[in-house]
Assembly symmetry: C2
Homo-oligomer: 231 residues x 2
DNA sequence: CGGACTTTTGAAGTAATTCAAGGGGAGTGG
DNA sequence: CCACTCCCCTTGAATTACTTCAAAAGTCCG
């Protein structure tokens, strides 16, 4: 069993992309598998951070909860992405909760293992820095949107982002391959489910989207982009 | 000149903390100095990213500007902090602009130099990952605040954060050692200068703060914390 | 077919923005 | 040293975008 199927997958993840094969092999050897069913929690806000995961198949959502129970969706995580960056960041408690959206398959490392890997193979550590930087960048954009844009524009941006991240071309347009309730969209856009519902209804009339129960299809991506641009 | 004063400073920065002395020496040798006067631009949004800096003395502000000219202040950067993370993140264009608030002294590296350093010394790369993770985490918090809190609470959080980052104990309370206009606070809290002004006026009457032209002194930190907590 | 969850839509309420105008400090130049 | 100017700050009043409240209608699943 010299040739392992996980190896090829790992080589294409954000953490191991461009890393020498020997190093990826080391990583693969030190990893363990974890499967979680839909709606299961992978890691919980406030818990001690002990593990880092890479998503192999499936999709998860990272959320943050405030003291008084309000939630925001920080992001969705798909194949190839890192879950549990806490260990990379050198923090000791998870700043958010990660829940599986579908049945998911992960590869995991203990804190000690991943640190050893990064120490031995600096390219892994550099990838870690790059990936954290990428997320930081994403957040800057979202922060700016939230601070300067109107609700409609923010919802449009949220949907554009989702369609790029998890969009599937269909006959009717780009379908977002994640079940999304109005509440979910609200928690991503910083608004209420009511406003999301009203906005989607309006867009539906304009032929921009086509949505149902926990389902969003962008029928006219161009028009949607126009919405993100208007002042 | 074997013993260089920059060396000791570098050893305490977020990028070189805990890194073997030989590595820090390498870094110091590869660095160049840069001085910028107050209000000078260190790097400009949209420009090609070629350099990474570490702040030695002084303070800078990172801003993001939208297409239509609206601004937000992403954060302030002080001694020991990294400026120009773009290079670490592997992006090619600066996502924001960084301007010096005071006269500032930086140490810089070319992209090639810093990448070589990280490759040779994985602890530097790991620090880079940790520091990016820390910023990502900060942004998550701010995003949540912006999405779930009222303006007054957000302004309170902004000021609490600033007082931790740049607070100086004085007879009157904690003075924020950065000149801050109402507009600046607005751009950090996602509101308008008018609302900031009204809020500060109200707090002044309650004896929470004591502020003047581009100056904020927190006279009752406890009461301010209460504001951040109320629903 | 019952029941839980999701979505829609109207109406009322409100927090915060926008509009508008004036006041005050700090620095500059005569 | 005074006056002028440029910012910065303040405060009222009007407006509005969005939330909150409320109720009803769909939709999916067991």
């Amino acid at each position: 069993m010299d040739h392992h199927p996980d190896l090829e997958i790992l080589e294409r993840t954000e953490l191991f992309r461009g890393v020498p094969v020997t190093a990826v092999r080391d990583a693969q050897a030190a990893s363990f598998r974890k499967r979680v069913a839909a709606d299961e929690i992978v890691l919980r806000q406030g818990d001690a951070a002990t593990t880092l995961y890479v998503v192999i198949v499936g999709r998860l959502r990272a959320i943050q909860t405030t003291a008084d129970g309000q939630q925001i969706i920080v992001r969705y995580l798909g194949p190839g992405e890192v879950v549990g960056y806490t260990v990379l960041a050198g923090r000791d408690r998870h700043p958010g909760t990660v829940v599986a959206v579908d049945d998911t398959h992960l590869l995991g490392w203990t804190e000690a293992a991943i640190k050893e890997l990064m120490t031995k193979h600096s390219s892994i550590a550099m990838n870690a820095a790059a990936l954290m930087g990428e997320r930081y960048h994403e957040m800057q954009i979202r922060l700016r949107e939230l601070a300067t844009e109107r609700v409609e524009q923010r919802i449009a941006h949220t949907i554009v982002r989702l369609s790029r991240q998890a969009g599937r071309r269909t006959a009717r347009g780009i379908e977002i391959a994640i079940p999304l309730s109005r509440q979910d969209l609200a928690e991503m856009s910083g608004t209420t489910l009511h406003t999301v519902s009203r906005t989607l209804s309006a867009w539906e009339e304009q032929g921009i989207v086509n949505c149902g129960r926990r389902r969003v299809v962008v029928s006219d991506p161009q028009k949607l982009l126009l919405v993100t641009e208007e002042s």
